[in-house]
Point group: D2
Chain length 427, copies 4
């Protein structure tokens, strides 16, 4: 808590004379450009650099940043590993939804889901869905596929050369995996496919990254592999990421081939439960899902066939120290509702959920505590089991959110239908 205390002292009292003067000199240099804002950490401890920088920004923009200056996370770590030019932190409220019963292969039991959000009603919605799922015996969840990818793009001299490059890479998959193995002891290259577009050749490499989300280790391994391909084939390496990975963009390839953890979660709800807990009926839920999530999304040219999966993915990602920009790929979800003899079967399919429990933001103190709430902080035993458990929990959380919103829409529709009926009878 030193970071927090240090800043609060600084922010609160302003510090004494000599310090102020020294800071003013730094500000002058920063303004003149003779000192760069990112060089402060080289001249002083991170905790001071963050304070000086924040106060410089306060002066430059004429604002008071007293709340941004209050934080308790380890500033030495945050300012060096998580965020350059750090001036403090924003506080994102965290609520819990649960208990949510989950029957996964990795997540077994009941869980309290931490959701970091500033959008009212979100936690309440997931909470309601969690209740229904838990009453129904718990969400069944499965990991369908697991693999983080990177796809360097190469330039060939001709389409014939392009095919040669692709063929060479596919023929040398084992050799390239061996090269990957020299760069990491944690991850493992598990797949390689090639794509040609004119003279551009994309080699999509897939890795088992265990408990890490893995982009970093994958990128390092891919760099070495790409060099080998270039040297062996005469291909020119254009970019380590050729957008067929695909990272942080919604992409059909991720839906089809998977990226990160591919998760599916489902729950059977009886007619009775649909009626009592969700205040609607099976046919109405099915119609809402059909006209909104399937027909509506298709008609809109949408890549997501769901109600609001992104809300849950983004809130859990922020809470749990995941890369928030990965909510883009992570939230491409399809929600399906089947008619069954006993009621409905509701499921969500998330083909490309990139998550990890080590590295990145998972070590930031508050985020780490959220992972601990779920019992998935740090590396799992066996390796990879924690990340898969987290993926299953997020999948179940999305199921809860979908169930809740679709149920609510269906209940409203049913209410209107009854009202309409009432009106009709009077006439």
């Amino acid at each position: 808590m030193t970071g927090d205390d240090g800043h609060r002292n600084a922010a609160g009292t302003g510090g004494d004379g000599p310090d102020r003067e020294k800071e003013a000199q730094i500000h002058t240099k920063l303004r003149a450009g003779s000192l760069k804002l990112y060089e402060l950490e080289k001249q002083m401890a991170p905790v001071d650099a963050v304070r000086v920088r924040r106060r410089f920004i306060e002066h430059e923009t004429g604002t008071m940043l007293e709340n941004i200056g209050i934080f308790s996370i380890d500033v030495d770590r945050a300012a060096t590993r998580n965020c350059e030019n750090m001036i403090g932190a924003v506080q994102v409220p965290v609520g819990v939804a649960g208990p949510l019963a989950i029957n996964g292969e990795y997540a077994k039991g009941t869980f309290w889901l931490p959701l970091a959000t500033t959008e009212g009603a979100l936690v309440a919605s997931v909470n309601r869905g969690a209740g229904a799922i838990t009453k129904a015996g718990g969400a069944e969840v499965r990991i369908l596929h697991d693999g983080m990818t990177r796809a360097p793009v190469f330039a060939a001299k001709s389409v014939g050369h392009a095919k040669e490059i692709a063929d060479w890479a596919e023929a040398h998959e084992e050799d390239l995996a061996a090269i990957a193995a020299t760069t990491t002891s944690h991850g493992k290259m598990t797949g390689l496919v090639t794509f040609v577009a004119g003279t551009s050749v994309f080699v999509r490499l897939e890795f088992d990254t265990k408990d890490a989300m893995g982009m970093n280790m994958v990128t390092i391994a891919s760099a070495k592999i790409a060099d080998e391909i270039a040297q062996a084939t005469g291909a020119r390496l254009i970019a380590l990421s050729g957008n067929m990975c695909t990272d942080k963009k919604p992409a059909a390839i991720n839906g089809i081939m998977g990226r990160g953890r591919s998760v599916v979660a489902g729950i059977a709800l009886s007619h009775e439960l649909v009626e009592k807990v969700l205040k609607t009926d099976a046919a109405t839920m099915i119609e809402v899902n059909y006209r909104k999530n399937l027909v509506g999304s298709a008609r809109a040219g949408a890549m997501g066939f769901n109600a609001h999966a992104a809300n849950i993915v983004a809130a859990m990602f922020i809470a749990c120290g995941q890369d928030a920009a990965h909510a883009i790929d992570g939230s491409t979800c399809m929600t399906t509702i089947d008619a069954t003899e006993s009621g409905v079967y509701v499921a969500v399919t998330l083909p490309s959920l990139p998550v990890g429990t080590v590295g990145g933001g998972t070590g930031v103190d508050t985020q780490n505590e959220c992972l601990k709430i779920l019992g998935v902080a740090g590396g799992g035993s066996p390796a990879g089991s924690n990340a898969k458990k987290l993926a299953e929990i997020i999948g179940a959380g999305v199921l809860a959110g979908e169930l809740s919103l679709i149920g609510a829409l269906a209940a409203q529709h049913l209410a209107r239908a009854h009202q309409e009926l009432g009106r009709g009878q009077k006439r």
Copy 2:
């Protein structure tokens, strides 16, 4: 700072005897389900409810949440408006990138961009791009379109009935706008289009929501309009959101018709600047963009034609109290690089950036301070100008991020090419 202090006391010392006992009783009730977790705010002040709830979660999950319990934001507001079942907050490190010169219609001058992230290298990357843009005279930014949308879906009895409903809605656009006007004094309905898919009718309503992101006001207005349509045409309203809005899913319709603020930002870079600042050349930058962002994304079936726009959009959204799940729609960006006589012209196009400076998370203290850094906290004068200014700044920030990453990839490629050349000569 009371919230912070209150929690810290609670977390730190544990409080005295009587309180502990009372809390234990509450825990028992919570565990038994006779008291719901979300009912705590009805029985005590939010600050206490948050503490009690957090300690309940600590006990249930066997974890210590001391950092989550430290926050300075106004808990009365946060626990009621932003987050149900609140147990505290996560702290997301904030760094600044800048100064970034912007020549927009709303944003004019130089800005320091706050980015909340746990992913190292991101702020540094945007910072580097900001430097190049500022040296080149500043990013030119324009708002192409402005309108928040909601598209209720109705069920018709037949395709003939579907056409009647659509025709009726289009013919009564003015009447429906008048109905919308009775629900809000801030926003204004500005457009209506209809879509038919079999017996499903979607009425996409568009609003000028001024400085608000506007989903709430739009949803309220749409509810009343939808009732009117249903009553007048015999259509059954299935769901207020029929996924042709499209909210929080990547969708072609948003790219084509726009949603939220549609922004385009560009910068001309001279050959000299490309060489000195980005350490590459025009042809190489163009080739990287061509093979990666255009060909690669197309080949992947991606909806985003950019390098990492999502990183900037997500980080600025979290910093500035925007709905983080809106980064999904907000980041569908196309990056283009033209060859010009004097160098290159780099541009980013973001057709559906949903942002606001009032409402939602913008009032949370730390997020509000980030908005203040940009000079856009609260309502603008004239109304709407602050939100548009924020949209322009984010657009410029994305341009900086793209420029930096593409420049870096191009510089690497160039370095490899020279190396290769060196190797070649030796042989």
Copy 3:
């Protein structure tokens, strides 16, 4: 039938001596390149040019093309308006499906649909669907939108310039429509929207082309409009078609904004009819459509949500002299099946069906006869009514095809289920 007779004589007997010699001389010139294959029509009557050319190809490729040489269509017209370097014709078998009862706004009554295809089972399938529809009282069909488009692309100097160009075009819509009016007395410009992507500006112009498919008149009008925009704004016109039209490529923009004729067709089937005619039940049909056409297509990243709409569109386009490459846009169809109290409601939605009854291939004799079978040959009264009638008929034909195939799949599924049940009982 002169063309046919002429060729048959030529092909059959080979002609007399002097002609043979003259032809050999021409062949020599063609081989040497001193005479171009496409210049033959300048030296002789089309009927002779076609024969000489075909025989040249026979000699060059060592093949006998006796069937290609047999045709009855007016060669003077075909060789000059429909096909350069003509050597004859392929014969595509035509079958009829019907009678198909249609309740459209333009097509009223029962129709026999001509389908040109070489794929066995197709006509039979449509025929079976037509029977079910007719028994159920006829397909209800509606035209939702009507407009052929062209979208020139311009280059701007900067994003600011791009916005100026787009704004200018939108502000001068009426003036530009007046310019369009000077180029055609048949068509009428009815809409203009602009799109910006960095420095590229797309102006999507929409026209009412009456009974013509209209690409030609639209292109001529667009050329003049584009020149005006370029001159007034300093935009550089890059291409008359900027691919946001979008012509002959599947594109979300066509689904959303419509192109050509947007058609929806539907039919209510009673439980009894589903059982007796389609040998299945409502629930099974709905499940097939849900899992295959909605979930399957979504999971595949498909732009079509149907079973085999392309079969019907392509076969009717070839039969009726439509541009066969337009089957690409024309067949992007969504098939929906609703559960109703009395059975099912099946519908197809085709947002971008480009059809005409004058111009292009509609005047070729055999194709013209197919249009006559449908009562839509030539211009309608009022103008446009024939093309819309054709669009409605094709829509109904697609409905018949979808109904038939989905019904068959459902019947098979039901049969398997019963069989399974039988097996189960035995065990």
Copy 4:
């Protein structure tokens, strides 16, 4: 030519008394429904059935179908294998483009491409492109992948069951391939991948179908495999085609995994050739492709990144007896133009071209002659080589078409630019 003669006699003279009377009786039965239109072949020779049916349609619709009645193709075959309810044929004009030099792995030499079309300018355009390619030394063409697919869809009881089904299928790939082998001696199952969407399981089976397009053999094999999967896993088979195949719909999965023959074709053009033959320059061609085919298509949400590939694919498919509805998948093409030191490198990539040289419409006489022109009629030696050769030729044809149209657009743009310059100088 009997079919033709027979019909012409019938159509021309009307036949004698007794026949007329008999035909009138048949018409009466047809009208009453006591005889079905498709039952005629059971009562008389195909040639007579076609004539009687056509005359019935003539009477019913009050039209004269004298041209449709003229054909020379083998009616016994056509009426039974290619087209039910046959009434005759449409004649589609065929032109040739060439000579086109091709350096493929299967197609080597120069070719005359037959194109069946009613759209003027198409053949001329391909012809111009063929000239440029041939002058430049011939198109380099490669087959990247080869495999026809079918993807049955199954219903599972739960997501857990879904994963079990998918796992079982993947684990039993060899066994299932053995089952496939019992159904066909021509084709071979070469791949199996599974996809889960909630409770829907798709098993995408891939086959080497040699010289056949192969849908039929693949469907028969898939049926037997699907039964085995259903029986072994308890999955319910919903439909033999679950739309993840994907057949006759544009779909990302086909672009990514390939379907049919995946073809890439390219050509290097020198600055001199671009100038002399295409009357433009490299930079202008590149700009047209960039703004139109890449940026324009991306902005339109299009699945095709080309100028008019569909024109060539459709025309060659109709000429060569391919399934015309396959032009939908076959034409999803990406056109790329690279800047090279010596000029430009233009390429087209067609990932899913379903073609064959045996079966389907390839045996219809006129279509067979078109295949003969290309030297690919019937089965190749080794098996599969003819179909691959045809795929390469079509790829080269598309390249010719793209080159020609982009070249023309670029030439126009250049002309306008010069004109503009002239105007500017005068002012």
